[in-house]
């Protein structure tokens, strides 16, 4: 089974990812599934019956507000990075956490780099389905590329200037 980095450790991924074009509710595999946003929105009533074995994935460009009413019940939301240079997913992560209050597993999937792990973590992601070319154990180090930051973000809401003021 596929490896996953989750909460700072390498674990086995027990979720199945359903591609955008393979998605009808009837055809879903058994077990825990991550379905495309469109499928979820169209079949919410039906899919909800399977909660908490259903997660939803979206592309960074899709409006996270579409999940605003669902975040409380969803155990997992995944944001897909079609290419690693597409930074929309970083905003999507923050919005899901900070604006919509999602507290479940926020997973990055797709084409992102090991070298983006630290930024992703700061934007609220706690699970990373890394490209299989990486050794996930070695990649863990990149999560902690930085341990101090100027800006506030999901991991540390207070910007450095507020923390400086507290200690001086």
């Amino acid at each position: 089974m596929r490896k996953l980095i989750k909460d700072g450790a390498v674990v086995t991924d027990d979720w199945q990812f359903v591609d955008a074009d393979h998605g009808t509710v009837d055809a879903l595999p058994v077990g825990k599934v991550i379905v495309p946003l469109a499928l979820w929105l169209e079949n919410k009533a039906e899919l909800s019956k399977h909660l908490p074995k259903v997660g939803v994935w979206l592309n960074g460009e899709e409006d996270t507000a579409q999940l605003h009413d669902d975040v409380a019940q969803l155990p997992l939301i995944a944001v897909n990075f079609p290419v690693f240079t597409d930074g929309r997913g970083f905003s999507a992560g923050r919005l899901l956490r900070e604006r919509h209050g999602f507290s479940g597993e926020l997973r990055a999937v797709g084409n992102f780099l090991r070298d983006q792990l630290c930024y992703l973590r700061r934007c609220g992601f706690n699970a990373f389905s890394l490209n299989e070319k990486y050794d996930p154990q070695a990649a863990l180090a990149s999560l902690g590329d930085f341990s101090e930051y100027y800006q506030g973000a999901v991991d540390e809401p207070l910007p450095l200037f507020r923390r400086r003021a507290l200690t001086s």
Binding site: S91, D115, Y149, Y150, Q151, A153, P159, L160, F161, A165
Partner: protein, 554 residues
């Protein structure tokens, strides 16, 4: 000058370690070229025509003598003994080897310098007025705000992979020396009727392929709201900026497509969600930033007495008088002046400076200007705080060092990108064009008679040489694999910004100087008394220039 505390040091040393690891993994083949590209660019590292180019950040143009000495030793140890001042006030090394870059960065970190976000599709180094803090006409010193923006933008986790590069400039005077109207975000510091300091916010300006003057989206933004408002603008851009076409990916295209009003509404709506978040600035933090930019211990100087003494020297020495007129600028403190060191003597690539010159500069900064210098977007260097009583002695030292060419603001003070000699994106060389023009216009009295005249050269559409805002702009173009030069007229940087118009069909390299001469001739024959080039151009339009330049030889 801002001084790092343990937090800043920690962030920087973590960056050095991170990039060292990335270079190792790249050299071992774990990171592909394509993946390494954004990683190295966000560290200022280009792969150039001949060797890598490393762009070092000079936050808002300020350098200390300690930093200058470090740059000199890096130029000597890792490069060919010189470096280059870029049109965005940064420093570029043209010949380092990739394997050495982590060591160079480690050395830079010891003097609180780095190459963070000097390239790539992220928030770039914030620029400001080269006379910040000393200009008689400024409302407040813009540098504390620049430093606040520097910290906010450094490794911003959400905005490191934007659709395209993103540049912010700040000015605090009406005579906009930071060109805020042609930046992705321009911040003009203003005071409202109540005397409160805030920002007039412009977005969507820019040069490059599609030059645009920015639109005002907020007339007054209170200073505490600076960072949250910037976050809102960037978030809208990150989400909605085009990513399908690199040439349409800058924020100016988004602002134009949405319309500035709609864009402003979107920003406002986003901002309402975050304006009271912990990212909101505090008065305490603004005061902390200001505490690094306090006045140095100026001496009491009798301005009238020193001016009289200077007069004696100017009467006796024409060369000194020329230099005083052109290269010395006013200062807000009586008895002090700002001195611009020209990096544009004929025969030197505009903006190049050697290791020896850097070291001399460091000594001069220590002796005459409280240990600090400033880089300018015109690719010169400024000693910001020189006592007028020292001007004559300083000039005596500057002259043999090659720093005293009295051409600041004249036709030969050319802004020029590295062009085809170094840059792999170039359509044409730019340095030889600048050199030919400098050699041709070598009569100082003639240059002074021509007055303020900006000639800017870019080797391609990317416009690093700011050709759109030169009174005369020269752009390298490629015609079936051959180098040609398009001429533009009527651009202007500053308060009354305008973009140049294309004169007509382009020219071969050996024709450019002659064309410039004809353009200048039309100006000289058409001008009213005391009328500057740009004003004559605006009055008579482009046609007389066209007629002269393209006149058929009889």
């Amino acid at each position: 000058m801002y001084v790092y505390d343990e937090h800043d040091h920690k962030i920087l040393s973590e960056r050095v370690a991170q990039f060292r690891g990335q270079v190792d993994r790249y050299l071992e083949g774990e990171i592909s070229d394509e993946e390494f590209l954004p990683l190295r660019l966000q560290n200022g590292l280009y792969i150039q025509r001949l060797a890598p180019m490393l762009r070092i950040a000079v936050p808002y143009g300020m350098l200390t003598s300690v930093q200058l000495r470090k740059l000199a030793s890096i130029a000597r140890d890792y490069d060919k003994g010189y470096c280059h001042v870029s049109t965005r006030q940064n420093i570029q090394f043209n010949w380092p080897s990739l394997e050495d870059v982590p060591d160079i960065l480690a050395e830079l970190a010891t003097v609180q310098m780095h190459a963070i976000q000097t390239s790539g599709n992220c928030i770039r180094n914030t620029t400001t007025d080269q006379f910040a803090g000393i200009a008689p006409d400024e409302i407040v010193d813009p540098r504390p705000y620049c430093e606040i923006i520097r910290q906010w933008s450094t490794f911003h986790p959400e905005f490191a992979f934007l659709p395209r590069k993103f540049k912010i400039a700040v000015t605090a005077s009406l005579d906009d020396r930071a060109a805020v109207q042609v930046h992705d975000i321009g911040l003009q510091i203003v005071k409202n009727d109540a005397g409160t300091v805030g920002f007039r916010v412009l977005v969507g300006g820019g040069l490059g392929r599609t030059p645009v003057i920015g639109s005002v989206i907020r007339e007054f933004l209170p200073e505490e709201d600076l960072l949250t408002y910037l976050d809102a603008i960037l978030r809208i851009y990150n989400q909605f900026g085009r990513r399908d076409n690199k040439f349409k990916a800058r924020i100016k295209i988004l602002v134009r497509a949405m319309g500035p009003e709609v864009f402003a509404e979107k920003v406002e709506e986003e901002w309402q969600h975050i304006k009271n978040s912990p990212a909101r600035l505090t008065g305490e933090e603004i005061d902390r930033a200001k505490s690094f930019f306090t006045a140095p211990p100026y001496r009491q100087i009798d301005d009238a007495a020193v001016s009289a003494a200077l007069q004696k020297h100017t009467d006796e020495e024409l060369a000194f008088s020329r230099w005083l007129n052109r290269n010395v600028q006013p200062h807000k403190v009586p008895g002090y002046a700002a001195v611009t060191l020209s990096l544009k003597p004929a025969g030197v690539s505009p903006g190049d400076i050697t290791d020896k010159q850097l070291e001399l500069l460091a000594d001069l900064a220590d002796q005459y200007s409280f240990g600090e210098v400033r880089t300018t977007h015109e690719q010169n260097i400024v000693l910001g705080d020189v006592a007028k009583s020292d001007l004559y002695d300083l000039w005596k030292v500057l002259k043999p060092a090659g720093f005293a060419t009295p051409n600041i603001g004249t036709l030969t003070d050319i802004i020029c990108c590295p062009g085809g000699d170094y840059c792999s994106l170039a359509n044409a060389k730019s340095i030889p064009v600048a050199e030919a023009i400098q050699r041709h216009f070598n009569d100082l009295d003639y240059l002074y008679d021509l007055g303020d005249l900006d000639l800017n050269i870019s080797g391609c559409m990317n416009a690093c040489g700011h050709h759109h805002v030169g009174h005369i702009g020269v752009l390298g173009v490629d015609k079936k694999g051959e180098e040609f030069y398009q001429i533009q007229l009527g651009g202007n940087a500053g308060e009354h910004s305008s973009l140049g118009n294309v004169l007509g069909p382009s020219f071969g390299r050996d024709e450019v100087t002659d064309v410039v001469q004809k353009i200048v001739d039309v100006y000289v024959q058409s001008r009213n008394p005391d009328e500057q080039f740009i004003d004559t151009y605006r009055r008579i339009g482009i046609d007389p220039f066209k007629e002269r330049v393209y006149a058929k030889a009889d």
